[in-house]
Each structure stands twice: as C-alpha cells, then as structure tokens.
C-alpha cells in the first residue's frame, strides 16, 4: 500500500510540476469535461419556470489555423420547477444544449490563456407530466436555437493538462413556439448564463 501511495504521489507531482517551465500553448487541440451552473434571466417562460441543477458537459476543440480553433460541446442538467404557471404541470424537467463554436487563443502569460468563443447550437427542454391516477408519463419537448459568446480563461497545470473557467451568455431563440400574448410572458426568446469550471487535456 505504501508503495502504491508513493507511486501515486510521484505520478501526481510529476504530472503537475514536471513541466512548469513550459509555456502555455495557444495552438493546440483539446478535449475537456466541465460542470457549470446554468441560469435563465429576463422576462421569459424559462426564467419564470425553472431553477437549474448543476450542468455537466464536455467539449472538444480542434486547432485549425494558427490560434484559431473550432469545437463542439454538449451540456445537460436537470431543471427544478419553480412555477408551473407557464409550462404545465411538469414534474420532471431537463435541459440540454449542444453546438459548435469558433475560438481564438490569446496568450496572457506563460501559464494563462484567454480564449473568446462564439457559437451556435441547439437547445432542448424536456418536460414530463405524470398522470396521478395511472402514473403514466407524458413527455413533451421544446426546441430552440442558441447563439452564444463565451470568454474562457485557461490555466496550464502542465503542458497538457489545463484547468479552465468560462462564463457564457446565450440567446435562446424559440420562434417556433406558438403561444398567446395574453400568457403573461415571452415564449419566443430567452437568455441564459452559464458559469463553468472544468479540466481539459491538450494534444
């Protein structure tokens, strides 16, 4: 057991500190996972109906030209209902979005990168009504498009291992939704904010 811990400690210190002298690489591809907190803001049916649990997601970024990358991401979270006034008696909801982005890497120092991103994606809200008598589940889905900007900060733990944080603002377009103006809120657009922390591997 002692040997195992010594080996593990040695591995960790090697991974974390062995290449501290290397500088951040602003021309590399990466794959990462992250957790984030998503919240909806403004006068819209999402902001009035849901509180969100933490989001989990992944992203892939491919270096295509000098400091420019293209990438893809996927995020998912359960959503807690705070009001059924606008979306029906849903008892179990979740939100996911996925999309592509274009980013540019700007080196701030030997270990820090600033990566502004712009992207587009799809948005999927799942709701579920459960009949109280039969317990049958009826699911219904709301789809939209997301347009977002996302400034990201990267910290190079070592040459290949990168911690990152990102705050992204997304405009969610729901022009496909039919709803009455008398409903008392906006069903055709929403705004979302995501605060994410994650780790990625560069290659």
């Amino acid at each position: 057991m002692r040997v195992f811990f010594m080996f593990f400690f040695g591995l960790c210190t090697t991974v974390c500190f062995a290449q501290n002298s290397k500088i951040a690489n602003d021309e590399q591809s990466s794959f990462g996972i992250f957790t984030s907190y998503r919240t909806f803001v403004g006068d819209n049916f999402l902001a009035k109906s849901y509180n969100n649990y933490p989001t989990f997601g992944m992203q892939f970024s491919l270096n295509v030209y000098k400091k420019f990358n293209v990438g893809a991401f996927y995020r998912y979270n359960q959503a807690k209902i705070i009001s059924t006034q606008y979306v029906g008696n849903t008892q179990n909801s979740s939100v996911s979005d996925f999309g592509v982005f274009l980013s540019y890497s700007k080196k701030l120092s030997n270990k820090w990168l600033f990566i502004p991103k712009i992207g587009i994606g799809g948005f999927n809200l799942k709701n579920q009504i459960i009949d109280n008598r039969s317990y049958e589940r009826f699911r219904y889905y709301t789809f939209g498009s997301v347009f977002f900007i996302a400034p990201e900060i990267n910290y190079f733990i070592n040459k290949d291992l990168i911690a990152f944080t990102v705050v992204d603002y997304g405009f969610v377009d729901f022009t496909g939704i039919t709803a009455s103006k008398a409903a008392g809120t906006n069903y055709n657009a929403a705004n979302q904010l995501n605060f994410a922390l994650g780790i990625k591997v560069g290659f």
């Binding site: 049916f45 059924t84 006034q85 606008y86 979306v87 029906g88 008696n89 809200l125 799942k126 709701n127 009504i129 009949d131 109280n132 008598r133 039969s134 049958e136 009826f138 699911r139 219904y140 889905y141 709301t142 789809f143 496909g176 939704i177 039919t178 709803a179 009455s180 103006k181 008398a182 409903a183 008392g184 069903y187």
Partner: protein, 137 residues
C-alpha cells in the same frame, strides 16, 4: 411482399396507436371569471386543465389516456388564466369536487364540472370563457 404487409399490419395491431401526446412547441391559454348565480366573484378556486383521449390498444382493445396538464387558481376578483401545453386529446376545464357549472350554454349536462375547450374557439392560442357561473352541489 404480401408477407411484409401482413407483418406490418400485425405489428401495428399489437402496438396500438393514438396515445395522448403533448406538444412542447405550442402553449395555449384559457382565461375567464368564476361567479355565483348572483354574479359575485368567487376567489381561491383551483381549476384544472383535463386532457383525455381514447386509445386503441393491441387485440382491438380500447382504453383512455388522461392527464391533468395544468392548474390555476382564481384571484380575488374570481379571474383565472391558465397556460398549458397543447395536446392531441379533448381538453376540458375542470372544477374541483363539489362544484358545478350552472351555465347551460358552456357545459355538458352529464359532466357539469367540465367545460369543453373547443379547438375552433381559440384565437391566437387564447380562449376567453368570460364569465362562468358555478354553484355548490
């Protein structure tokens, strides 16, 4: 070829069809006011939007899908407004147990706690029932 058609027919027969479904891309609104026979507003009454659809099951059996898809409460003026997802079933506004509609135009006499929300009465996803007179049974 005939065998494929026969298999398809059998599969459909066993699977059944026509289940109640909701549309997350269409939300409807029902609004109105509850009063008693003397036109006095009735606050704090919980109303439900009830969906029902006859379904065809396997072996020719029939069933009914039902779901309460939304609820709302009348305010101090007796006014209510309920938003709910559109469904492919028949949709009714339902009074709580112990109350009945006394407006003969809007109610089916066999089910006087229900008001049918006729699809052709919606204008821009809104149906205004105006005043509904109710009484205790």
């Amino acid at each position: 070829m005939n065998n494929k058609i026969l298999l398809l027919f059998i599969a459909l027969f066993f699977l059944g069809c026509g289940k109640l479904q909701f549309d997350g891309m269409a939300f409807l609104t029902v609004k109105g006011r509850l009063t008693d026979a003397n036109n006095t507003s009735i606050p704090n009454i919980t109303l439900q939007v009830y969906n029902t659809k006859e379904t065809a099951g396997g072996f020719g059996s029939r069933g009914t899908d039902e779901a309460i898809c939304a609820t709302g409460v009348t305010d101090s003026n007796g006014d209510f407004k309920i938003n709910y997802p559109k469904s492919n079933g028949d949709v009714y506004l339902q009074l709580p147990y112990g109350l009945q509609m006394i407006d003969s135009v809007k109610v089916n006499s066999n089910y006087n706690y229900l008001v049918y929300l006729q699809p052709n009465k919606f204008i821009n996803a809104l149906i205004d029932l105006q005043t509904l007179k109710i009484s205790y049974k």
